[in-house]
Symmetry: C2
Subunit: 553 residues, 2 copies
Amino acid sequence: MLFWWKTGLVFCNLKILFGHPDPLVGDLTGNRESILRLHDEARAMEASLLVVPEMAITGYAPRDLLLRDGFVAAAEASLAQLASVTLDGPPMLVGTPRKVPGPRGLRNAVALLRKGVVESFHDKWLLPGYDVFDEDRWFDSGEEVLHFDLEGKSVAVLCCEDLWNGADAGVSGYRRDPLSEVDADLILGVSASPFVSGKASAQKDRLRQVSEQTNAIVAVLNQFGAHDELLFDGRVMVAEPNGSVTRLNSGWEAGMTALEWGNLEAHPEPDPLDELVHALACGISGYVRKTGHNSVVLGLSGGLDSALVATLAAVALGPEAVHGLCMPSRYSSSGSLEDAQDLAARLGMVHLYEIGIEPIHEALRLSLQPVLGAVAGVTDENLQARARGVLVMGLANAQGLLPLATGNKSELAVGYSTLYGDMCGALLPLGDVFKSKCYELAVHINRHPQRFGFDEPPLPESTLTKPPSAELRPDQLDVDSLPAYDRLDRVLEAWIEHGVAEDALPDPDLVGEILPMVQRSEFKRRQAPVILKVSPKAFGPGRHIPVVARSRD
Amino acid sequence: MLFWWKTGLVFCNLKILFGHPDPLVGDLTGNRESILRLHDEARAMEASLLVVPEMAITGYAPRDLLLRDGFVAAAEASLAQLASVTLDGPPMLVGTPRKVPGPRGLRNAVALLRKGVVESFHDKWLLPGYDVFDEDRWFDSGEEVLHFDLEGKSVAVLCCEDLWNGADAGVSGYRRDPLSEVDADLILGVSASPFVSGKASAQKDRLRQVSEQTNAIVAVLNQFGAHDELLFDGRVMVAEPNGSVTRLNSGWEAGMTALEWGNLEAHPEPDPLDELVHALACGISGYVRKTGHNSVVLGLSGGLDSALVATLAAVALGPEAVHGLCMPSRYSSSGSLEDAQDLAARLGMVHLYEIGIEPIHEALRLSLQPVLGAVAGVTDENLQARARGVLVMGLANAQGLLPLATGNKSELAVGYSTLYGDMCGALLPLGDVFKSKCYELAVHINRHPQRFGFDEPPLPESTLTKPPSAELRPDQLDVDSLPAYDRLDRVLEAWIEHGVAEDALPDPDLVGEILPMVQRSEFKRRQAPVILKVSPKAFGPGRHIPVVARSRD
C-alpha cells in the first residue's frame, strides 16, 4: 500500500520513498531480496531516493553475530550487490554494519548508494546503552554527519538515536550532539526504534524540536516487523520548521510509504488500544513465521489471559492457526470449559482439544506420596500447572506447533505463576501487559470486533466478568494470594516501568509486601519465554536484575 | 587464614592486608558488617592499610539496581559508616558506586577512607563492554588516577579493567590508558574479575608488563565468591619490576591475605582441574546459600553428568545436603539404578529416593493418544524427560530444596536436551563444561579423591566407562544422534569460545551439521537455568545471540 504526503514547501521536484521490508536477523539473502523488490518498485515510480531502515541488511539487532568477522563481511558484500542496482535506478539510503578501524572496529552505518557504487556513509554518533540497547558493545561512534545533494536540495542523514537523543525514552546521556553539525534543507532519519505504547507523542515533540532547531524539514522512517521481544511499527513521520509534525502512514505493514511535496495528507495517531493489538499481533506473527512455524498451541482455561492470547493469535495468524487445549481438573468449574468452547466458536477456531488432567495429576501424586507423604499446598498446585505444561508441549512437539504461554505482567512480576507449568512456551505475548490492561484490551476488542476482523465480540462475557482464579484448589481466587489487580498494578507500574523511588510509590501499605515478591521471583523470569516489549520497561533483556540479590536492606 | 608474603624491596614498614568478604549483591548491611569485621582484624594486626574489592559495598555487579537513586544513596551512606571506623583504625580502600555529574551520573569508584572520613576516590577509567560486562550502561569513566601517600610511599589506585585493559580476555578497545598517568612506588589494583579457567597466566603476563612499564610494584586483589553465573577466585597477586609475579594465596575462601615486605613466599598455581572443581563448588555453594537454601535435589540417572553434579554439590555443601532422585523407566538399564545407588553410597549421601516414571509416562501417553493418535519419537522421549522434571520440582517445592539441572555444555550447544525436562532447575552447574571436559573432571576427582574430601573415588567405574545414553528409547546411544563428543567438542569450543571463523574450524565435515543445530536451539538456552561461567564464552548473559535468526546464509 502506498501513502502520499504532500506539503506546501519547496521540494516539489523530490519524490522520496520509504521502504518497509520485514527483515529477519541474519538472513542476508532474504533481506537483500526484499530491498531489491522495493528498489524495483521505486525505479518504476521514478523516485528521487529510496530509504530503508537502520540495519536493514542484517535486521536489527544482530547483536553478537556482529562479533563474527564473516558475518560483517557478508553484510558488506550484500551492500555492494545492492549498490549495483542504483546504476540504472534511484539512489538508496540503507542501514548496515561496516568495518572501520577503531576500538570496536565497527560502525552502525547508513550507506548512500548512488550511480552503482557505495558513495558514502553516515556512521551513527549516538549509541544507546539503556534498556534493551547496548550498541556500545559492538560499535564505535561516528565522527561526521553525512550531507549530500539530492536534485539540488541539501540532505543530512541521521541514524535513529542521533535524532531521538534519548528524548523519546526520557533519558539523557550523550556528550555530543550530531544536530550541531547539521546544515541542510532536509534531514532524513533512518531508525529501528522499538515500539513502546504511548511513545509516539514524545517522538513527535522531539521531531518538532529538531526541525525548529535546525530549520530543516525532518523525515524519519522506522523499521517494520518483530524481532524477538522487539516490535517495530514502520511509521514515517515528517516535521516542518513551522511546528507541524505529520504521520504519513498507519504503519504495522510491509510495503512502501511515499513523501511527495504538495499538500498534506496526514494519518491520525490510532487509538492506543488499537495500536497495542496491532503491536502484539505483529509480535506473534513475526515470531511464528520467522521461526518457520505456521500455527500455535495454547492452554485455554476459560479465563481472561488465555482467551486474550488466543484472540491476539487469531488476529495475527487467522483462527485456523490457533490450536486450543482445554485441560480441566477436579478444581475447574464447568463454566471454565464452556467459556473456552464459547471462545473457540466465536473466534472460528477449528482446533480445540480437551484432555482432563485428573489421571496425570493422580499418577504424579501417587508417585510422590511414598517420598513426600502428603502432597499438598503449592507442591500440589504446581503439579497441576506442570501436568498442563507437559501436555501443551506434547501437542507442540507432535504437531510442530509453536507453544504460547498465557501469563501477564502482574503475575510475572510477583511470581504468581508456575515455572515449567503455565510459563511453558516459546513466546509470552502478554508478559509486558499488566492484568488491568489485559482487561481493558479485552473489553476494547469486544467493543470493536470489526476493527480486528471479527464479526461479533470474540471474548465470552463471563470470561470478562468472573473473578480471576488459577483454579488449582477448591474455590481459589487470585485475591486470596494477591492484592486486587488495580492496586497491585499501580504499584508495579510505578516501580518497574517508571523507576519511582520506593518512598514515593502509591499505596504505601502494599509496597512492603509487593517489592520483595518481585525480587524473590527473579529466578522465574530468568527462565521465562520471550516477552513482547510494549512498555517502557519489560521483563527480559532490557532489565538487568541479578537473580541472587537482596533487594531491600 | 592468613598468608604472609615478603619481598626484598624497600617497603619494609608497610603492612597491607587484602580482605576477602563474600558479598551478596544488594545486601548493604551484611556486606558492611563483613567489611567491618575485616577492619577489626586489620586494626588488631596494626595494618598500614586494608584493601577490599571492587564494589565490595554493594557486591559485584548490582546491575540495574544501580539505576535506582535509593540504592546508590544507601551505598553512599554505607560508605560513610565505614569511613567512621578509620578514625581509630587503619585506612581502607573499598569499592563502591558513587554519584558524580555526567551523562550517566555514576562512577565505579574506589574510595580511600582515612582518619574517619572519605578522603578521596579513584573512579574506574576503563569500563568493559564485552562478554558479561556492560559497565557503560551505568557508569561514566573516571578522569584521573588516585595517588596518595602511605607512610612515605606513593601509592596509585586502579580499578580492575584499568589494570587488565582487556589483555586477560584477549580484547582491546579503549582510547585511553590510565597507566599513562601513574607515577608511584606501588600500584594497588582492586578487582572483581570473573573466573575463567586458564586466565591466570594471561593475567600474570599483564601484571608483569604493567610493573615493567611503570617501574612500580603492582599488587592486585580480586573479589571472592559467586554471584549468579560469575565466580570470583579471591586471588591476590604481586608483580615486581624485576619481572617476578607472585600469587600470595590459594584463593576460593573468605578471610584475609597479608602483604608484608621481606622474603617471598609464593603459592603455586593449582592444577587447572583442581581449580575447576573449586570454582564450580564455589558457584553451587554461593547460589544455594545466597538464595537462602541449605540443600539441593537432582535427578540421578546413573550417567556421568548427574554423577558429576552430585559430586560437586557434595564438595560444595556436604553429602548430606544432596538429595538424589532416581527415576527409572522401561528404557533404563538395571545398571543405571545400581550406578546411582553406588554413587550415593560412595559420596555418603543420606537422601536417595526412587520413583519410577512408568505410571506417569503411561498416564501422559494415554491422555494424549485421543488427540495425537500414536505418541512416539521425540514427543514420547520428551514426555519422559518432562515427567522427571515435574518430579524433581515436586521434591524441591515440598522440601524447600534447590533443584540442580545436570546438563553439560555440549548438549546445551546442540539442543540435545529437553526444555522443562532435564533442563529444569535453578542452576546448571555444568552448562559451561563440555562433555569431554566433564569426563576429564570426573576421572581427575576419582584419581585424587582426598583433595576433594573423599576417602575413596566417588564416581562408580561403570559411570565413567559406559557409553553415554539418554535412555529414552530402547538401546539409545548419544552417538546415534550426535557426533562423537571429542569431535563435537573440538568444533564447539573453537566456534563458541574462541570465535574461530567458520571456514577455519576443525573437522569441516561436521561444521555444516553442527552450526545450524547451535542456532536452532537458541530458544532453549534463552530459558536455561543460571549457568556457572568457567570458560571465555559461556551460554548466558555474556553471549547475546538473537533467538529468532537465520545463522547462515
